[in-house]
């Protein structure tokens, strides 16, 4: 098992290196710079600022010194928030985004698996069509439409929950989590339905029925585990997507998370902030993919032994 993890971690190094390099040079190609604001800055001041942040050096020199700092855990100072280091900004925004992402994922899993399994038990009937049509709508509906819709219905008309904020009023975490999780719930529903349909046609399900087991046991004990393996394998990319894709929801609901920093940094040409956030999220994506792969392999006894202790 440890061998497998080490290999995967080593494979991540070139991936991250490419991400860093490509991002570094791409953002520099974008027109404008961090100090080109609406109000022009005096050339002398601009030169002084650029000298302070080493922007006057040749590009490759900036690149190597950035890599050197990064290896020591220093992502550099933010250009737009003077006095803040990028890693400190990430540390302040990430817990909120992570919490939002986690709730969204739990909602997506609960609704998605339930809907998928229910649909798969009676394929091509109303019990299948209803949840799957809802899933289709969930996949098609963009977050920036669903969010305001939910706010309108549950926040304004029904007045059940607050319309914005995070952790200020009771219940204000509900709508953002649902908004963010909806599309993933829909996708997980489709994954679990197809997984379930495949497993339910296996010979060993027939064996379980031939033993006279109640249908609930056949489904929960014999079918569910195999059916959920594709869902588990999807969890890694899903959580990564939730983290990096949360900025729309964070903007709609005024949530002080990482996503908003990320988007603002792009508009501001805050080079170090863009790079820092990208590297941080890429690392998370690599890690979560590894984790969900490990979990999916562990769920299959055959693979567990292949990569596990006996190897």
């Amino acid at each position: 098992m440890s061998r497998f993890i080490v290999i995967r971690l080593l494979q991540a190094i070139p991936v991250l290196f490419v991400v860093i390099t490509v991002t570094f040079f791409l953002v520099r190609q974008a027109p404008g710079g961090p100090f080109d604001a609406d109000k022009p800055v005096i050339p002398a001041v601009k030169r002084a600022l650029e000298a302070k942040y080493n922007l006057d050096q040749p590009l490759w020199q900036q690149y190597t010194s950035y890599l050197g700092d990064l290896l020591q855990g220093d992502m550099g100072p933010s250009f737009k928030y003077p006095g803040w280091a990028v890693q400190d900004l990430i540390a302040s925004g990430f817990p909120v985004t992570a919490e939002l992402g986690l709730y969204a994922l739990l909602i997506a899993l609960f609704i998605g698996v339930l809907a998928g399994v229910i649909a798969a038990l009676k394929p091509n009937t109303l019990q299948d069509y209803l949840p799957m049509s809802a899933a289709m709508i969930g996949i098609c509906m963009p977050t920036f439409l669903l969010g305001p819709l939910l706010v309108l219905i549950f926040g304004i008309w029904l007045d059940w929950v607050p319309v914005s904020g995070w952790g200020d009023l009771p219940g204000d975490k509900i709508l953002p989590s649902i908004t963010l999780g909806a599309a993933y719930a829909a996708y997980i529903a489709r994954l679990s339905r197809s997984g379930m349909l495949e497993v339910m046609s296996q010979d060993y399900i027939r064996t379980a029925r031939a033993k006279g087991l109640p249908e609930s046991v056949v489904v929960a004990k014999h079918a569910l585990r195999g059916a959920l393996i594709p869902v588990v394998a999807f969890l890694g990319p899903a959580f990564a997507g939730l983290l990096s894709g949360s900025f729309v929801v964070e903007t709609i609901f005024q949530i002080p998370g990482l996503g908003r920093f990320y988007v603002q940094a792009a508009f501001n040409r805050d080079y170090t902030m863009i790079l820092g956030t990208t590297i941080f999220l890429s690392t998370l994506i690599v890690l979560f993919n590894l984790l969900s792969d490990l979990l999916a392999n562990w769920m299959n006894p055959r693979l567990r032994q292949k990569i596990g202790g006996k190897a």
């Binding site: 010979d203 033993k211 087991l213 195999g226």
Partner: protein
């Protein structure tokens, strides 16, 4: 009163393509302590009839049109799902064809074994565990305590079928339905499982319904036999008497189609060596760990193939016979040794030098369902090699395709049809025609008839014999089926664990096998 009495059972499947009558007015009965054999070809309704009694066919599309199945006087077909569930696995248990897929790969063997006791008899898990370990011992599983906690993939096919039998018998049912329980197993393992079923049946006074396509298996085992064709019972009666004198023409056909005895015609085998294999070695690399060490699939195999002969290659699954066949044709990379075809070395030739040789060296595969491209019509499938190897020109390719179809016995009308529109036997004819298209000298036929019903198998074997004769072909015929090999082949090679153990003229090997493994193999074979 019989234990199970089935009267006028009719089952149909209602699909978009129309209604298919799977079982028609079927009657049979089973008494306690008796083995009833149900014999028929695929699609004859033998499995459906038993599954429908226990509510195990999907409804819809399945529908039970009429009939009753009295089990100890109670009609199974009139029971509610809950009542039926109390019978399934409790009083009537089942074992299935493929032990590889019939056990849940995600659950430990023990967990699957104790389920009937826990759910039907309300045993505690501790009691059930103790009983399960006793039973594992009884069905011949070594180290039952440890095996109880193993996963299915840790067992071989035969061992898994033993586990299946244990899980079927744990609740001490009165009736066991065994659906082709040995079809997926090697012949030596089949012999062990058949013996086990027969022992357990005797010891427990169990009634058994034994479903099989194989007359030879049923003949030795069953007290009474029902022969089914297209959903109907065509003949039934005591086993011994029926096999001595089959009455119905279909039973006679089945009987005649089952390969038995020696090759009828002495072939005109020359002393001219077509292919010479020397110390051929093929190794599949493992993953470097101890869990998957490198596998020596072909271990220094040496033999010759004479022009015009059919050479049989016999072995059980995993013996490396398919890999040997593919290594000869450079379809699998071999590590060392030599393969000389008409005197020149062909092993390890690069693909571009191999390509012209492919015209002379062809292959027929086992599964005609998987080896034909589903998106190519027969015309495309046959025209491709004809044109590629320049056997035909654009002008006469159509004519050549039709001639080939005539030769393998396919109706010319089908030329624009796709593989899925054909039956298994017809598809294998297409595959044979495809192999013949380039006018090869040497064909490797890898289990070409093992996916086919026995009457179809007979036709394909006749076709192969005929073609070999007419076109002066040389063939390496790979098979696990000893009766087929004896019927078809001039000489035979016996393979185990990658090694060739014995070779010789077929009849002399059959009469006096030299190697102990060959002796065991021949002793395990069930024959009519």
């Amino acid at each position: 009163m019989s234990l199970l009495e089935v009267n006028k059972l009719s089952v149909s499947f209602h699909t978009r393509n129309g209604v298919q009558q799977a079982v028609k007015n079927l009657d049979f009965r089973v008494d306690s302590g008796e083995i009833l054999g149900i014999v028929g070809e695929s699609g004859s309704g033998k499995s459906v009839s038993c599954y429908s009694l226990l509510g195990l066919i999907p409804c819809p599309p399945g529908r039970i049109d009429s009939g009753c199945g009295l089990f100890k006087g109670q009609d199974l077909l009139a029971m509610s799902e809950a009542e039926l569930r109390a019978v399934r696995g409790n009083q009537i248990a089942m074992i299935f064809q493929d032990p590889m897929t019939s056990l849940n790969p995600f659950l430990r063997v023990g967990e699957q074994l104790i389920e009937p006791l826990v759910y039907h008899r309300g045993h505690t898990r501790a009691e059930a565990t103790e009983r399960a370990q006793e039973l594992l011992d009884e069905v011949g599983i070594r180290d039952p305590k440890r095996s109880f906690f193993s996963y299915p993939h840790e067992f071989s096919g035969g061992m898994r079928q033993r586990v299946m039998i244990a899980s079927a018998l744990i609740a001490e049912p009165e009736l066991l339905i065994a659906d082709e329980p040995t079809t997926a197993l090697d012949v030596t393992v089949q012999a062990q499982i058949l013996q086990l079923i027969s022992e357990l049946q005797n010891r427990r006074n169990l009634a058994v319904v034994f479903i099989s396509h194989d007359l030879a298996v049923v003949k030795d085992l069953a007290d009474r036999v029902v022969v089914m064709k297209q959903g109907e019972c065509v003949e039934s009666g005591p086993g011994k008497a029926m096999f001595a004198q089959p009455q119905h023409p279909y039973t006679q056909d089945l009987y005649a189609a089952t390969p038995q005895g020696a090759k009828a015609v002495e072939s005109s085998c020359s002393e001219d060596i077509l292919l010479e294999v020397n110390e051929l070695r093929t190794v599949f690399p493992g993953n470097g760990g101890a869990a998957q060490p490198p596998l020596v699939a072909v271990d220094d195999a040496s033999f010759v193939v004479y022009r015009g002969e059919i050479l049989g290659l016999v072995g059980e699954s995993g013996s490396g016979k398919s890999t040997l066949g593919r290594s000869i044709l450079n379809l699998v990379q071999s590590q060392s040794g030599s393969v000389r075809f008409e005197g020149s070395e062909i092993r390890g030739l690069p693909a571009n030098e191999m390509r012209p040789l492919r015209k002379q060296l062809q292959m027929i595969f086992q599964d005609p369902y998987a080896s034909l491209n589903p998106r190519m019509t027969i015309y495309d499938c046959l025209a491709e090699p004809l044109l590629f190897h320049k056997v035909a020109s654009a002008a006469n390719v159509q004519q050549q395709v039709l001639t080939l179809m005539d030769e393998v016995g396919l109706d010319r009308r089908f030329v624009r049809k796709y593989p899925h529109e054909f039956s298994g036997g017809q598809r294998q004819r297409i595959a044979i025609a495809r192999a013949l298209a380039s006018e090869p000298e040497f064909i490797v036929a890898d289990e070409p008839v093992s996916a086919l019903d026995v009457t179809i198998q007979k036709q394909i074997l006749e076709l192969l014999l005929n073609l070999v004769e007419r076109r002066n072909l040389t063939m390496l015929f790979i098979s696990h089926d000893l009766a087929v090999v004896r019927y078809l082949c001039d000489r035979v090679l016996v393979m185990q664990h990658g090694k060739l153990l014995e070779s010789g003229a077929t009849e002399s090997v059959w009469q006096s096998p030299a190697h102990p493994y060959t002796q065991k193999l021949l002793a395990s074979a069930v024959t009519l």
